[in-house]
Amino acid sequence: MTQYQRADSDALDELVRRISPPLLRYFGGSRFGRNDAADLLQDCWIRIHRSRHTYRSSEPVMPWVYAIARHTGLDAYRKRRRLESREVLVASIPERLHRTMPAERREQDDFDRLVAGLPLSQREVLVMLKGSGMSLEEVAAATSSTVGAVKQKAHRAYITLRRALEKVRENAK
């Protein structure tokens, strides 16, 4: 990262190669679909590039990257909501058919949807903790909150998922 600040092109290649996949996962796991994730990744990289002077070599890289990614995603989400509020639905999109899937895969598919339906703050904590393997401290730094708040969000996400999964199983019966 320090070499990137010194305009080393090899460092740029290495960073793009290393940081982009977790960012793509982060944006893919957020409210945006995977198609939008690539656009968001580009937007995020522009912001990372423009703010590379704010990185300090004494600090870990990923919380810094995720803090920028988080704001990029939330800013885009807000813009999208504003646009969607002006749109008129002309036809409903059919639900994805997954009846032909094996039961185990179907349940995991349902679970993926439940995760996607979690509140944004809870889902982003899960994406960072589970998807990117960040520590509680790193997630707290990236989300400008405390370790306690991160634990609480993760705990709430678990409770919500457990209840929703139970409901799915009851309905299946």
Partner: protein
Amino acid sequence: MQNNPRDAGIRDAEIEDKLEAWAASQSDAELSPELQRKLRDMLASSFKPVKPVPAQSGLVLRFLCVFAAGAAGLIAIMSRIGLHLMTGAQIGWMIAALGGGAILFSLTLARQMVPGRRQRLPLSLVLGLSGVGTIAAITLNFPWRTSSAFVSEGWPCASMELMLAIPAAVVFWLLARRGALFASARLGATLAGLAVFMVLVPLQTQCMFQQAPHLLVWHGGMAAVLIGSAALVGEIQRHRWIS
């Protein structure tokens, strides 16, 4: 029907397993060589060496220097009648309260200049300490008298505070925007807090009504309104790129 989900047999371990499977399914989001090349080309076009933002102590010192210079400059051009009306103890207490507030706001602003850095000094604590300190310094050291012209004596002070604090906040924002990249209620309140504390210094030295009710309502009240308004603006603009 079982109300407790744990009784239904869904345990944390099962949720954990499903989350692992979910995380694994997310990890197939690989970066295509085409996208990688596009990113590299896009960034390489504006690739120059950059100077990292100074260390936190350097940033705090910079904010405090601007604070001191701004306060001194305003004292120099404004009336100093209030300074002659205050006792040595009152001057000392107000310097300690306002200077302490400036240090706290500078510390929290400097930490906000590195994205993803843990905030060890919560804004609520900064606001609480600086607010309580200033209120205590006023209530314990200034007389509790009010005149019949409380409002007509007070509003010029409040309006002057408003007129001076807004440009002062803009100056601090120009200093902070190199690192404070995104709007937030925290950033708005911090910038306004630092600006308001800077303006309270010359206001204290020029005010001829050195009584606790006047200082609390017209000086302190306007400070609270300004900090609250800036926090609200920050909240409305939340997550917006402002650098």
